[in-house]
Amino acid sequence: MISEIAWTVIYLACLLLVGCASIQWLTYQPSRLEAFGLALCLGPCLMGGWLILWSFLGFTPSRFLILSLSALAVVSMVFRHARGSRLSDREATTHSSNQLWAALPIAAFAFGLCFVVHDALLVPTVDWDAFATWQLKAKVLFYFPLVPRPAYFSNVALSYSHLRYPILVPMISTGSMAMMSTDASGLAKSPAVILYAGLAAALFAFVRRIRGIQIASIVTALFVSLPMLVESAGVGGAEMTLVALYGSSLICLLRWLQRQRPGDLVLAALFSAAMMWTKNEGIPLAIINGLMIVLFTPRPLSSRNLSLAAGFAAILACLYLPWAFYTRTLPRTDEDYLSHLSAAAIMTNLPSAPRILARFFFEMIALRHCAIFWVILAAIQFINWKTLRDRRVLMIWATLLLQIGAVALAYMVVTLWKRDDLIGVSVDRMVLHLSPAAALLIALQWPEAKPVT
């Protein structure tokens, strides 16, 4: 057991190293904490991608593969450091800097982290989705490379595990199994801990930079203590990963809007592609992110912007096509929304739309999952309606509404499930996926404190 814990710690350190090395190369980082947070979210994706690449080449994940990428990361960091790091804390904010505010998100984060660590490290995988789908796939990838194709992917008796679901989250867990040399440990869920920490750090640092420490503290504390997030982060499913990647991609898009640095766009594209490899719900999220680049940059039809948007789309396509190609012949015995999505099916099921949207609304005000997080967003929007003129606020609202529309469409064309049953078991997660966007909206619109004179 001690060696398993030690190998898990080494694996988490490898994920961090890979993330830090990559983030240094990709774009200018205005704050160390923001870079650290984004690195924590990016590291697991890159490690998962590296292991998937080797799995396509016929090799199962191993310590050698993991440590070799980590060694490359170390070399890259040394080289980058020698050239002069772009990490900087010099971009000072003009906002109030009462550091005591930081105690609030730290306390909320510590509270949430206790439960995430408990679920991820101390108990077996007991979440239904986690062991029936994600951690089962992790075991498949631990024993068999993707080429030649394992029998699992054609075994219709295992259709309940969603044979064609993307494999980034399982592969990140498989990396942990490979380091421990066993598939029998609940520690394979451990990467969730750094994703939770990464998103918290990135959100706090980003909002602190644009709105000051007071608003950053409030928003981060609200977000990291969300019951649904704390409940689902460490259980071994894909929710934490998708939420962390989506939050990171939105932060990168907002940075792009602010500074127009191509590096931010590359980072947003990487996070978006990773979302597509995480869950099917990540596909519309990634496409919506691409749309936002076209619609909300200052000069949308300039040749520079169009070429950057095309570059974003190309990164998504290049990174996702291998999985689309790999799964094209797999049995479609589970719910397959995309193939049912037609104008006729949508028109037929249009009367169900109000009911679906109502279920979304009631989930957003469900105290046991979301507390009054969404109510606060509505209140802030009501108080500060003039902020809708802000391009950044409009962009996040657009992503939020488009994503709700995309999920509603999927619910409308459902065939295998009874619609109400499916909504009942999944709408809480759909709302959770949207929560980083809501957190950023609250951050962008929170009223500035005006001192009373």
Binding site: A108, A132, V140, V156, L158, S159, H369, A371, P447, V452
Partner: protein
Amino acid sequence: MTTSEALNSAKGIALGFAVALCIGISVYATLNDRFGNDRRPRELKLYGGLDTLFSQIRQEQTPIFLKFGKLSGKDIGFASTVYFRSVFDMFPVPVLVGDPSDPIFFVEDILRINLDHGDDWLAGRHVGIALSVRLSNGKLLMTPRRVPAPVLETPQGPGLSGHTNSP
């Protein structure tokens, strides 16, 4: 203090109260979910028991067949719980509940194909252990049975030799 300043102060107090309320509800909801009911201890106990059993069976490296007793009402959920958990625990050793070519997505799919099969059918699919699973007074009872090795027919005559699925 002007009206506008008073309004700003009121807004600040209301927002501060909303933040405190939101974090308070979040903390309460999380603690209540963890400690306010016995769902988690029950889950841990159930899955712990299943994990122990299936990890022992896994050492035999032989495919197993699960046969569920009569389940009805809310109890049918046990079939998917036991099947999904056994597949997770036993992987890569196969677990069967019916013909492997039948798709399983919902618990009803399991119960529809989960028929009584003779030893020849089981042995033909290399099943070494058949596990009878039933509920009795809310308790999950599982009875394993070894499937006899199939009788091989040789040119000299039937029944002279056979093979076992166990390693």
